[in-house]
């Protein structure tokens, strides 16, 4: 691999050929703000927040789409660059609601983070603001187009990851919007609610309805696990607050699916707290299933199975193991049947 040497803020660093200036900075822990860039999506170079100054180049090039050249001299933090970024942020904030206190994205909002970092006041430009209806006609995604900063990542996620292209830009200039065709609400479009758009939104324009009001990012712990729906084996992070799962976020580092999930994996976890969960053993008494203690229930099962085994032989007992349970549990079940009961009568719904 060919390596190139460049100077960033006076520091000499080496990176592989083909690296962008942005990646070169990030590899070397030099912070660059970005809104429209995502490593898993193609780069648009649209938000212009990642601009830097490069010796010999006209204007301020965006680092996310500028490739490193040998001997390049990059400035990422000089007053000119910082002022340009601040102005861009002021422009974005001028066309963005300032209801951050009640916004679900608070604490995880890139725009808020950078605005704070760059001392943006939100008072420099007064004028027209986008004023579009909020889309909350579905159980999963809350879409507030007024918070949209038009970075276009949701469009790319929908197209490049999901292959759906439900979303695109419409109109142009200041009137540009992002949404389904004819700017219909999600539930009137062909959207599958995979939620990939939500997973890439840097601001509060796309948020998960189920998580609204359930917890702030800093209160939540994340547990990576494997999805229990279908054989693809997607992984994601369960978001847990106070011992309760409040939702799911996708994790770009996971092996099979990266940020992609489907509607079930991302939004179906409220199943855990379904009213239909059985939370205590039940024993049939006088034809009715009634709650019982564990000891009573387990003793009853052990006794009954023991009696039947004794009377009719081990092969009069069978078990259905489960394609929904873990490997370890399936192992235990077949071992239970084979070693404890003494039969090979164990099967599961292997063929559906």
């Amino acid at each position: 691999m060919e390596w190139l040497t460049l100077t960033i803020d006076g520091r000499e660093v080496s990176v592989p050929k083909g690296t962008t200036v942005l990646d070169a900075c990030r590899m070397n822990n030099i912070p660059i703000p970005t809104l429209c860039h995502a490593p898993e999506l193609t780069s648009a170079g649209a938000c212009r927040l990642c601009v830097v100054q490069i010796e010999g180049m006209r204007n301020l090039p965006p680092s996310c789409v500028t490739q490193v050249a040998q001997g390049m001299k990059v400035e990422t933090q000089n007053p000119k660059v910082r002022n340009a970024r601040k102005t861009i942020l002021e422009l974005l904030v001028a066309n963005h609601p300032l209801d951050c206190m009640t916004c679900q994205k608070m604490g995880d909002c890139s725009l808020a983070e950078y605005a704070y970092d760059y001392g943006v006041t939100g008072t420099v430009y007064q004028g027209e603001k986008r004023c579009l209806p909020i889309d909350d006609g579905n159980p999963f995604i809350l879409r507030d187009p007024n918070k949209c900063i038009l970075c276009g990542k949701c469009i790319k996620a929908c197209t490049e990851i999901q292959g759906k292209s439900i979303l695109d830009f419409s109109f142009r200039g200041f009137d540009t919007q992002v949404g389904p065709a004819f700017n219909l609400p999600y539930n009137e479009s062909d959207c599958d609610f995979c939620g990939s758009c939500v997973s890439v939104c840097p601001v509060g324009a796309l948020t998960e309805k189920q998580m609204a009001g359930k917890g702030r990012p800093w209160e939540v712990s994340k547990v990576q696990t494997t999805c229990p729906f279908c054989g693809v084996g997607c992984n994601f992070d369960l978001n847990v607050k106070d011992g309760k799962v409040i939702g799911v976020t996708s994790n770009p580092e996971v092996p099979v699916n990266g940020k992609a999930l489907c509607v079930k994996g991302r939004f179906g976890m409220d199943m855990i707290y379904s009213d239909n969960r059985i939370t205590t053993p039940l024993i049939r008494k006088n034809g009715e299933l009634v709650p019982a203690e564990w000891d009573e229930a387990l003793d009853l099962v052990a006794t009954k199975l023991g009696e039947i085994k004794k009377t009719y032989g081990p092969n009069s007992i069978a078990a259905l193991s489960s394609a929904h349970c873990t490997n370890e549990e399936n192992y235990l079940m077949q071992k239970f049947m084979r070693a404890v009961i003494g039969t090979n009568n164990v099967d599961h719904c292997a063929r559906t």
Binding site: T226, G231, G233, K264, T326, R338, V340
Partner: protein, 524 residues
């Protein structure tokens, strides 16, 4: 799957048959669309106009149950054009001549007549699949859930071997497993004829190994498979059934027959997280824990063993399924003393060779794809590189066969079943948001049939087969061909499996969920 999910975006030609990935395996569906975006060709064989059919280069709208004829026909065309991979056939396979002979009568014209697929489309499909640099077959239950399911699978294997499209990156035969850990349940020996790691119960050496490990003598005879169990219950050969995390009343074909079997039992234990239809019949119900409440592993369709990590405590008084089994075993005089599921995995890795190198610690955040024979082995991305399990790949001559029950005068519609994106089997019904999003069955009926029956989109109708009947709402759509009705298996209120046929494949005993005769009647 012989290949990995992330090899899909680099496939050059995809042959999707009897599979609806964008609904049943959504993220695999997205990988296929990524391949399309990179210029891959797509052949879809399905009687229904599934989402992928709209993206296909060729959509083969075959008659249900004519898969073998279709595949034989494609092979016939490949041979006629000399697109076969002679080198691969010579070096890696045997039995080819028999197949060559068998497919001779399956000329494009004959096959077109059987399948209803135009000759040009057959030719186009054969060309795309046979001439691509890297072609992969993807199939699901549309292939296996037939009385000739095993033969369907063998036919696809023939096709892959004929063109050498197996044993390479992004090229192979890929059955996509339906349930989250159906792969793992099989791997773990939750089958009546094999121990963990597909080691035969009938083999004395294998049995000796397990007897030594477990310290008890083991039964040398394979046990009941599911379809046998319900009959055995009725005949009183089976007295007790312990059901863990399954709802056969809803998910097995010919549900009324299943229910009859369960009712005949002396003792039924159901271990579940929801009060399922099967649990309602139980003598004892044991509350299990959901995936979020336990630690262990699932194995996905690409053989990747991945961690399930506990995020919360079991709800209420529930216990994990593993814990319950251990307690029962102990109470029955065979103590299961495991500290953790990690310790169970250690035992598995000692007994099942393809899990030899797997520990929870090694699985970490990325998992491992079996076979992982030893602790340093990185896992196996795709199978059959250079060599098949049995040595040479065996061609099998297969003839076309009809489904067990076809529509007739009394039951004139062909019922086809499958999944839809917003649900997974029956238990996503318990998710309030998914339930709200997709609350009821919408049986798909072709507009011209709807017109003949005088029914409208959204109308509730009665659907009946020889085995049972139900009510369902109807969706009038061109997606299904005339004479077909399509239903899912997701809804308690329209339990499709009261209709399906309990006939099954002779080898795997998989029910023929995909084809049976039904009638539709208007409710006045």
């Amino acid at each position: 799957m012989t290949n990995s999910i992330n090899e899909i975006p680099n496939v050059k030609a995809m042959f999707v048959i009897g599979s609806n990935p964008t609904e049943a395996h959504p993220v695999i569906g997205t990988k296929m669309k990524q391949a399309l975006a990179k210029g891959a060709k797509l052949i879809v064989a399905d009687p229904r106009c599934i989402d992928l059919a709209e993206h296909a280069d060729v959509w083969l709208r075959l008659r249900p149950g004519t898969d073998i004829a279709l595949i034989n026909g494609i092979m016939n065309i490949i041979l006629a054009n000399e697109w076969e991979n002679k080198e691969f056939i010579a070096e890696r396979t045997e039995g080819f001549e028999k197949v060559r002979e068998a497919v001779q009568q399956y000329t494009p014209e004959v096959v077109s007549k059987i399948t209803g697929v135009p000759v040009e489309q057959l030719q186009e499909a054969a060309k795309i699949y046979a001439t691509a640099e890297r072609a992969s077959i993807f199939y699901t239950l549309g292939i296996t859930e037939h009385t000739c399911g095993t033969d369907n699978v063998m036919s696809l294997a023939n096709l892959a071997m004929l063109t050498g499209n197996i044993g390479k990156e992004s090229s192979g035969v890929n059955p996509m497993r339906g349930q989250n850990n159906v792969q793992g349940a099989c791997d773990m020996g939750a089958l009546p004829n094999v121990y963990p790691g597909y080691q035969q119960v009938a083999s004395p050496e294998v049995r000796a190994k397990f007897e030594a490990a477990w310290g008890v003598p083991l039964d040398p005879n394979p046990g009941f498979m599911i379809p046998d169990m319900f009959g055995a219950a009725v005949s009183k050969d089976l007295r007790a059934l312990y059901v863990m995390g399954e709802d056969p009343v809803i998910t097995d074909a010919d549900a009324n027959h299943v229910r009859k079997g369960l009712e005949a039992l002396d003792f039924l234990v159901v271990q579940e997280i929801f009060l399922s239809e099967t649990a309602k019949l139980a003598d004892v119900v044991l509350p299990g824990a959901s995936f979020a409440e336990k630690t262990g592993t699932f194995t996905n369709t690409e053989r990747r063993v991945q961690m399930v990590n506990q995020a919360i405590k079991p709800i209420g008084n529930a216990k994990t399924d593993g814990e319950i089994i251990c307690e029962l075993a102990t109470r029955m005089g065979y103590p299961f003393n495991y500290e953790s599921s990690a310790e169970v995995m250690q035992e598995i890795s000692k007994l099942a060779p393809q899990f030899g190198g797997i520990t929870h610690e090694r699985l970490g955040t990325q998992g491992l794809q079996w076979p992982v024979p030893h602790a340093e082995h990185p896992g196996t991305k795709f199978l059959h590189e250079g060599k098949f399990n049995r040595g040479k790949g065996l061609f099998m001559a297969i003839e076309n066969q009809l489904p067990a029950e076809m529509p007739d005068e009394e039951y004139p519609f062909l019922l086809n079943t499958g999944r839809k994106l917003s649900h997974y089997n029956v238990f996503t019904q318990h998710s309030p948001s998914l339930g709200d999003h997709s609350p009821e069955e919408l049986a798909e009926v072709n507009p011209s049939d709807a017109k003949k029956l005088g029914i409208e989109d959204g109308e509730v109708v009665q659907v009946a087969s020889r085995r049972g009947e139900l009510k369902t709402k109807v969706k009038v759509t061109e997606r299904v061909p005339e004479g077909m009705v399509f239903m899912t298996l997701h809804y308690f209120d329209s339990p499709t499996n009261v209709l399906t046929n309990g006939a099954y494949d002779k080898v795997t005993k998989t029910y023929e969920y995909k084809v049976c005769g039904v009638k539709i009647s208007k409710i006045n």
